[in-house]
């Protein structure tokens, strides 16, 4: 039977049920660690481009287009997540 989900501040997600998948090869994990450790204060922010919604229009945003300005980049779990 389907159960009702309580609405919380994290976006509800699902996934495979049952036995856990085997861990990814160690090589891949250490690569991810490497990428994570790249973020440090005093160092350049990694450049990226992303689709965006801005004042009624869909646009493409690239971080490096904002060189010369102060930028605040905020991540959040999902739209409609209350806080």
């Amino acid at each position: 039977m389907a159960k009702e989900i309580k609405a919380g501040c994290a976006r509800p997600t699902g996934g495979p049920v049952g036995e856990k998948k085997k861990k990814a090869p160690v090589k891949e994990e250490s690569m991810i660690e490497e990428v994570r450790s790249m973020i440090k204060v005093g160092q350049k922010a990694p450049d990226f481009s992303a689709p965006a919604y801005h004042k009624g229009k869909f646009i493409s945003v690239q971080l490096s287009d904002y060189l010369g300005k102060w930028v605040v980049l905020c991540f959040y779990p999902g739209d409609f997540t209350f806080v």
């Binding site: 976006r11 990428v35 160092q43 991540f75």
Partner: protein
């Protein structure tokens, strides 16, 4: 930026956020399907498939000056983010000759680190200045 599509961003802005902020969200709402950008910034939670509440202050040279990451249920403090940006701007304008002590905000004194100030901070800066 979240993993939601730009279409969901539009719905959230048009149906809820525009009722909180006149004219809607003034800045771009970015979409990061798959968490690729979040992964690079270290804020993508692979298990949950969402980004955590990460906030990065990036200066005009593209350098990250500060960041803060919170788990989903606790919201950020916008005033503190603004205070930090103002402090980084003061430091940048002084070309690094000035520093902002704990609790600094616009109008409060900055410090000019140098040989003369070593061991003398207690003379010019009091702990109660760390608080509002």
């Amino acid at each position: 930026m979240s993993i939601d599509s730009v279409f969901v961003h539009k719905m959230w802005n048009d149906h809820e956020l525009s009722k909180m902020v006149k004219g809607g969200v003034p800045f771009a709402m970015l979409s990061d399907a798959g968490g690729k950008v979040g992964s690079v910034f270290g804020v993508y939670d692979e298990d949950a498939g969402v980004e955590t509440r990460g906030r990065f202050i990036i200066d005009p040279d593209g350098v990250i000056q500060g960041y803060e990451v919170l788990t989903p249920p606790v919201g950020r403090n916008v005033s503190e983010s603004l205070r930090q940006i103002q402090a980084f701007q003061v430091v940048r304008k002084s070309k690094g000759t000035e520093a902002t002590p704990s609790g600094w905000k616009p109008g409060k004194m900055t410090l000019k680190p140098g040989p003369d100030l070593v061991g003398k901070v207690w003379e010019v800066w009091k702990t109660n200045m760390a608080f509002d």
